[in-house]
């Protein structure tokens, strides 16, 4: 139990987010109205995705320096979990966009960034699928993961400076900044971010354990 306290924190924070997120008062903003509550669900997904993709990058670097196949399992499962939360982020964002912007998908810098992230990691899985030898697959995939992550970071740094985003808080839209977000929203938003990130990490550790068990079974046969 001592080692698992963070799982309790994750469950409590996510439950709190769901209850408080739907029941607490929110400031009335033009355009956004009640959809502002999506801040507690949509935005933390991207925080979780970037965290878990960084874990993936870290283990890819570790694989290249130590050549331990466990790092490769961890890196690939972290990327899988990242795609899961990324997909959730896209879905929550898309539904929200339908009601505020009037379309499921619009030409927006942040949407492009999300789409490219998904494409890069889907390509990473295709790359993994097309190499049979285990050590070789781990090595090549690690190289691509590092290369792609750095290009992605460059992209996410450059792109928002090229165009304004339609997102709340960007380009004069009301949203998440010190004038618009009042303290009741902060009281939910920060626990929400921590809760969702911890929950993502939990899913990720379960996936790693499952993968290790599968490998063990495969080698015992």
């Amino acid at each position: 139990m001592k080692k698992n306290w963070w799982k309790v924190v994750a469950v409590v924070f996510v439950l709190y987010t769901i209850i408080a997120g739907f029941l607490f008062n929110v400031p009335a903003q033009p355009i956004l109205h009640e959809t502002i509550r999506n801040l507690y669900f949509h935005v933390p997904m991207w925080f979780s995705m970037m965290t878990i993709l960084f874990v993936s990058l870290w283990h890819s670097i570790k694989y290249l320096s130590k050549s331990n196949i466990e790092s490769d399992i961890v890196a690939s499962q972290a990327a899988h979990t990242g795609m899961l939360v990324g997909a959730l982020g896209l879905i929550t964002g898309s539904i929200w966009a339908k009601y505020t912007w009037g379309a499921w998908w619009v030409a927006d810098t942040k949407l492009n960034g999300a789409a490219i992230t998904m494409l890069i990691y889907l390509a990473y899985f295709v790359l993994r699928g097309s190499i049979d030898e285990e050590q070789k697959r781990a090595r090549i995939a690690a190289v691509y993961n590092i290369f792609a992550y750095v290009m992605l970071v460059v992209f996410l740094m450059i792109l928002p400076r090229m165009n304004d985003s339609l997102h709340p808080g960007n380009g004069g839209n009301p949203g998440f900044n010190k004038y618009d977000l009042d303290s009741t929203m902060r009281m939910v938003f920060y626990p929400a971010v921590i809760g969702w990130i911890l929950l993502t990490v939990w899913i990720f550790t379960l996936r790693v354990r499952l993968e290790k068990v599968k490998r063990k079974l495969l080698y015992n046969d």
Binding site: L64, I116, A123, K136, I140, V154, I158
Partner: protein
């Protein structure tokens, strides 16, 4: 030591290319016929953004095809022989430099044929040429590295496109923005974007240099 090896390797690549002319001829013909097909379907383009987008898409596909062969078509034995003679870093750097020479020629030809058939809308020619030069360099360094990765897999030509397109987008966005400025003939050059372009190039080359040592071994 490294520089000397790179020089020899580049000379070797050029010699091979001259000896085997139809590989180069094939890729040049690819560009010309793609442009001709676009010409027949578009007639002439007067909208700057469409002109720009079509130009870069043609160049993007031609570059992927031109560079895909740089590692994929090398036989295993030949590469092994090379790695015993020179350092692997020299191999990747020489391929990057050689490929950027190739792409510079390719993009110059592309621009020439494209402006003859589809029309020339560029107002600030020096800026466009500079963008094209930096673009060829960036394309070649990125695609050479991806070609090295793809050559390790079983279905490498499909993977070449899948792996390279998403990570090429940052480069492509900056290039399209700069060349649009050149077409519109803005008074002041946007130095920030040029710096970003140089910065992306430096990052790609540094990454290729650092990561290739894990890639070449089988």
């Amino acid at each position: 030591m490294l520089l000397k090896q790179i020089k020899y390797l580049i000379a070797k690549e050029i010699k091979l290319e001259i000896r085997n002319k139809y590989a180069l001829g094939g890729i040049l013909l690819y560009v010309v016929s793609t442009i001709f097909v676009s010409y027949l379907s578009f007639k002439s383009i007067v909208t700057p953004s469409v002109w720009n987008a079509l130009f870069w898409i043609i160049l993007l596909f031609a570059s992927v095809n031109a560079i895909a062969k740089s590692f994929i078509s090398e036989t295993k034995g030949k590469l092994l022989y090379l790695y015993t003679l020179v350092s692997p870093q020299a191999v990747i750097l020489s391929k990057i430099i050689y490929n950027s020479l190739l792409l510079t020629v390719l993009s110059a030809l592309c621009l020439l044929v494209y402006s003859v058939f589809i029309g020339n809308l560029i107002q600030d020619f020096p800026l466009f040429l500079l963008t094209l030069l930096l673009g060829s360099f960036g394309f070649s360094s990125l695609l050479t590295m991806v070609s090295a990765i793809a050559s390790k897999t079983s279905n490498n030509f499909t993977l070449m496109a899948i792996l390279s397109f998403p990570i090429m987008i940052p480069l492509l966005m900056v290039l399209i923005k700069l060349s649009k400025n050149a077409i519109d003939g803005l008074e002041k050059w946007d130095v920030n974007y040029l710096l970003v372009l140089v910065f992306i190039n430096v990052i790609i080359i540094a990454l290729s240099y650092l990561l290739f040592r894990y890639l070449w071994r089988d």
